[in-house]
């Protein structure tokens, strides 16, 4: 959710119980402004928070004018002092995929993971247990990146592709219509298209290249990984990710108000097929 309209967005997203206490709100409003100034971001998003056992991580993201440019992620434990996180790499993903369980809330906490590594000494091949230490900060980076790639979404038309290539915020976007807001196809993943390239020409025929340059939600795997609800008597659409429980997307049809927030444990719901 945009840092500028944080209060309204929080109000809209509160249907899932994911609020912020007044002091957090106030400090976020203050400190995110400063983050925007100091890091020279064009836009600052309040991304959400990851609940740790001891403390919570508050996450913010800075965007440049091109919305698809690599995003900078910052975290804070007290909503006032922000620290920049390194960009996620494939290596980090592989490394942290072995860690499960809850976050601790201490970025320097180290998870210990014992791995069996094959050692060769001369002719003998024997397995040796190696203790790998993984910092929680690394895990935080990779989890945020995974969530961003999997379930960060925006309504169709909120971004548009300029003729020169970069993706900009669409000023003329004034909301989805009610009938569109109920369909998953009106929402896009907030990332470069992957599926789109694999589509047939026939499927691409009706697409508007300036708007339909991202993957829509309707083909997400598994089918049914989104719960879409009309709340407040159809005055608000709320999408909840079931794959990453805790991610709430809200959009008030016919207004510019939309955004998403993640409040959760930072764990993927692998049980989804059992639960549907």
């Amino acid at each position: 959710m945009d840092a500028e309209s944080l209060l309204l967005s929080l109000e809209l997203a509160s249907g899932s119980g994911q609020g912020l206490s007044p002091d957090r709100r106030a400090s976020l409003l203050t400190s995110l402004m400063l983050v925007k100034r100091d890091y020279r971001y064009d836009r600052v998003l309040f991304w959400g928070r990851i609940l740790g056992l001891v403390a919570d991580y508050y996450i913010a993201q800075g965007l440049s004018e091109d919305q698809f440019a690599p995003r900078k992620t910052l975290y804070s434990l007290n909503c006032t002092e922000w620290s920049l996180l390194p960009p996620a790499t494939e290596e980090m993903m592989a490394q942290t995929s072995v860690v499960n369980g809850r976050f601790m809330g201490d970025p320097s906490h180290e998870y210990e993971h014992t791995e069996l590594q094959k050692m060769t000494e001369g002719d003998k091949v024997f397995e040796e247990e190696v203790v790998v230490q993984i910092k929680e900060e690394t895990r935080l980076v990779s989890v945020i990146d995974q969530i961003d790639k999997a379930v960060a979404i925006i309504p169709r038309g909120a971004l548009f592709k300029t003729p020169f290539g970069p993706i900009h915020v669409n000023r003329t976007f004034d909301g989805l219509s009610l009938s569109e807001a109920k369909k998953l196809s009106s929402y896009f993943h907030f990332k470069e298209a992957v599926e789109l390239k694999n589509k047939t020409l026939l499927e691409k025929a009706d697409l508007d290249p300036s708007l339909d340059f991202m993957d829509s939600l309707e083909h997400d795997i598994p089918k049914g990984s989104w719960s879409i609800q009309m709340e407040r008597g159809h005055a608000l659409v709320v999408l909840r990710s079931l794959l990453w429980p805790g991610l709430t997307f809200f959009h008030a049809p016919r207004t510019k108000n939309y955004g998403y927030i993640y409040v959760g444990t930072g764990e993927k719901n692998m049980d989804l097929p059992f639960m549907l």
Binding site: G15, G19, D23, L276
Partner: protein, 716 residues
């Protein structure tokens, strides 16, 4: 045809120019400019059918032509005057006309301005508002504006791609200007027809093609680009925005929207809005109800006694903790709870929480009835029991002589009576505040036992079936009730000392079997320091009974009633609960008011997290307790007050992934023993030997006494 016509008319114009140029220009131009505008607006209002006509299609020209002569007769002062010069424009497309009108005005050549201004009827109308008032000074600047806003035209006229870059555009513009110049020169030099005929004919055809293309009506919207562009330019010139280039998309969109507004207002809009009105209507009832109650004094007293919870107060504290719903939603729920307490004989009521669903959510209220609890429950119970009996009887009757099935379903553990154990409270749910409250059925141990083994999302419809591997005996309302019972038992905690047992402890211990299940508020509760609550988990105690693995809060001994099948029961129990086979040990859980510091850990994860709501102002902060076992369960306490709240999907946390329960063990076949194995058929030798032996015996008997033998047979 058209060409020749137009040229004739051009000539006419020129003649007219030559003849009455100054006078006509001065007098006619204002009226001209007003008139086409009205025409234009008329056209645009007429819609798509009328739109394309004026430019190119034949029907128009006769009309205008018909008007021409009269104009000529009426003279320069008359209002339809502009039409004669307008007519030629019907053949040369607008693009040219505009360009012409634009460039010459820049060069300030009045003679050329005049006829062309007349010719371009639509472009002309766009200019009107200003031109009507101002003189050529402004028209010059407008000409520039046109020069710019025209830019798209050259592109559109050709079949080029709409996407272009600026540099190219500039180059094109120069071309156009050159063309225009030459063109305007042509028009200026028109007295020499030879040149003008050769030049424009090519250009005009190209332009006509372009115009025809622009006038192509879209099958989707019924509009054409020609009218759209003229509409846009009208709008821009009317409104004169500062940054027209930047917001051209918005203008285009607005112009399009005005077309749509006319059509869509009949049916669709109203239909789309309906659900909003519907829920607003229902919620209005919540607000009205309050004012009605206010008039009745007795009821008001009753309400005062009636313990409607102070939802807003606890919502305030939960907001400090960073959980909970928005203020308005909370207030609606508050009103809905009030409605509930007013319509039911409720002794105590509490906002339990909200369970998220796929299609709709559940708002859950926990109530305790006063005395008159509905009897429906009892009836339902009986019916259910009868059904069970019927089934079992039917099973028994099926087989007569053949051995019956030894298998008996594991004895159904009876549910706890209402007001005791897991059924201590009654739960009402509704999907949205304002919708009717639905009472959830009593929970049975079977529901709880199965619910522990499955993990399903709630759909939001109470009658939705639960399809799961251990078949769930009920629909979603039962599952919801079971989850509520489990969550309540796990996460409802209070500060130490807030509740105390009713009886003295000594007595309680003696009748431990009954369990100390009743407690009351401690009148002498002093309150606990918030810091203590945060720092030590032992200051929090469970005040809801633990649910045993059996599915009940109080132990039910399944053997007592069915002593015959004791062994079988034991075996089953062993399978189910891993207990010792000889006798069923009573399941015991932690007693009431046990500190949560004794809760079991979930694989290195502490089951609770405590926090202070604010580190900045600790003296007014409250203690916040978060359950890690049931994500979404929160408790706050400010030392004296406390409240529990749950919001979430209604699932238990486990660091491991959900594993479906293993299939039940395959029932072993009967061991092959003497009663299964058969002997070989008797052989002939054996039979013969047997017969010989029998005959020998018979013969011996007969010899002795036949009568005795008979008597003996009778006796047997």
């Amino acid at each position: 045809m058209d060409d020749s016509m137009s040229q004739k008319q051009d000539k006419q114009n020129e003649e007219a120019e030559d003849a009455g140029l100054p006078l006509e220009e001065m007098t006619a131009s204002p009226s001209q400019r007003l008139e086409p505008e009205s025409l234009e607006t008329l056209e645009s209002e007429q819609g798509p059918d009328a739109g394309p006509q004026p430019g190119s299609s034949p029907p128009w020209s006769p009309q205008s032509r018909a008007s021409t002569p009269s104009d000529g007769l009426l003279g320069p002062g008359a209002s339809p005057q502009p039409l004669p010069p307008q007519e030629p424009s019907s053949s040369p497309p607008l693009a040219l006309a505009r360009q012409d009108s634009a460039t010459p005005s820049q060069s300030d050549e009045i003679t050329s301005v005049k006829p062309e201004a007349g010719t371009s009827h639509s472009a002309h109308s766009e200019r009107t508002p200003d031109k009507g008032e101002s003189t050529h000074g402004t028209s010059q600047s407008e000409g520039k504006v046109f020069g710019q806003s025209q830019q798209p035209n050259p592109h559109l006229s050709g079949p080029r791609n709409a996407s272009y870059n600026n540099s190219r555009q500039k180059a094109l513009r120069f071309d156009i200007f050159q063309e225009e110049d030459s063109n305007s020169n042509c028009t200026l030099d028109q007295p020499e027809p030879g040149i003008s005929e050769a030049g424009p004919s090519m250009l005009e055809i190209a332009i006509q093609n372009a115009k025809a293309y622009l006038l192509k009506t879209s099958s989707k919207s019924g509009l054409n680009l020609y009218d759209h562009l003229s509409g846009m330019l009208t709008k821009i010139l009317d409104e004169r925005p500062e940054d027209a280039v930047d917001i051209i998309e918005n203008i285009s969109r607005d112009v399009k929207m005005t077309h749509f507004n006319k059509k869509l207002d009949t049916l669709q809009n109203e239909n789309e809005m309906l659900p909003i009105y519907e829920i607003a209507e229902k919620q209005k009832a919540l607000f009205l109800q309050g004012s009605l109650e206010g008039t009745d004094q007795e009821l008001e007293d009753e309400i005062a006694e009636n313990s409607l919870p102070n939802v807003m107060e606890s919502a305030f504290y939960f907001e400090q903790a960073g959980v909970g719903l928005s203020t308005d939603e909370t207030y609606r729920i508050f009103l809905a709870l009030k409605q509930l307490t007013d319509t039911h004989p409720i002794h105590r009521c509490r906002f339990w929480g909200k369970i998220l669903g796929l299609e709709m959510n559940y708002i859950v209220a926990e109530v305790e009835f006063r005395d008159g609890e509905d009897e429906e429950e009892v009836e339902e119970e009986d019916v259910a029991e009868e059904r069970d009996n019927g089934e079992s009887e039917a099973d028994e009757d099926e087989e007569d002589e053949i051995p019956k099935s030894f298998y008996k379903a594991p004895q159904a553990i009876p549910k706890e009576e209402s007001r005791t154990g897991a059924n201590k409270y009654v739960y009402f749910v509704c999907n949205e505040p304002g919708r009717p409250w639905v009472k959830l059925p009593l929970v049975t141990p079977a529901h709880i036992v199965i619910a522990r083994k499955i993990k399903k999302f709630f759909t939001g419809r109470l009658d939705a079936p639960i399809i799961s591997y251990p078949p769930f005996p009920g629909n979603e309302s039962n599952y919801l009730r079971a989850q509520i019972a489990r969550i309540s038992a796990g996460t409802h905690v209070s500060p130490l000392g807030f509740y105390q047992f009713v009886e003295e402890e000594g007595e309680e211990e003696e009748e431990a079997e009954g369990g100390r299940d009743s407690f009351e508020e401690n009148p002498d509760f002093e309150g606990i320091q918030v810091i203590d609550l945060v720092e030590s988990l032992s200051n929090w105690v469970h005040h809801v009974q633990h649910i045993l693995p059996q599915g009940r809060c109080n132990w039910f001994n399944p053997i007592q009633k069915s002593e015959e099948e004791e062994e079988e029961e034991d075996e089953e129990k062993e399978e189910e609960k891993g207990e010792e086979p000889d006798y069923i040990e009573q399941e015991v859980g932690p007693p009431l008011l046990t500190p949560i510091s004794e809760d079991t850990e979930i694989q290195n994860t502490p089951p609770w997290t405590t926090r202070l709501s604010s580190n900045l102002i600790p003296q007014y902060a409250i203690a916040v307790l978060r359950s890690n076992l049931w994500p979404g369960a929160y408790t706050f306490s400010n030392g004296k007050k406390f409240e529990n709240f749950y919001i979430g999907w209604g699932h238990k946390y486990s660091p491991d992934n959900y594993t479906p329960p293993a299939p039940p063990p395959v029932y072993q076949e009967y061991p092959s023993g003497p009663e299964i194995a058969e002997m070989d058929d008797p052989s002939v030798e054996e039979e013969q030997a047997f017969r010989a032996a029998q005959e020998a015996v018979l013969a011996a008997d007969r010899k002795e006494e036949t009568e005795e033998d008979e008597d003996e047979d009778d006796d047997d």
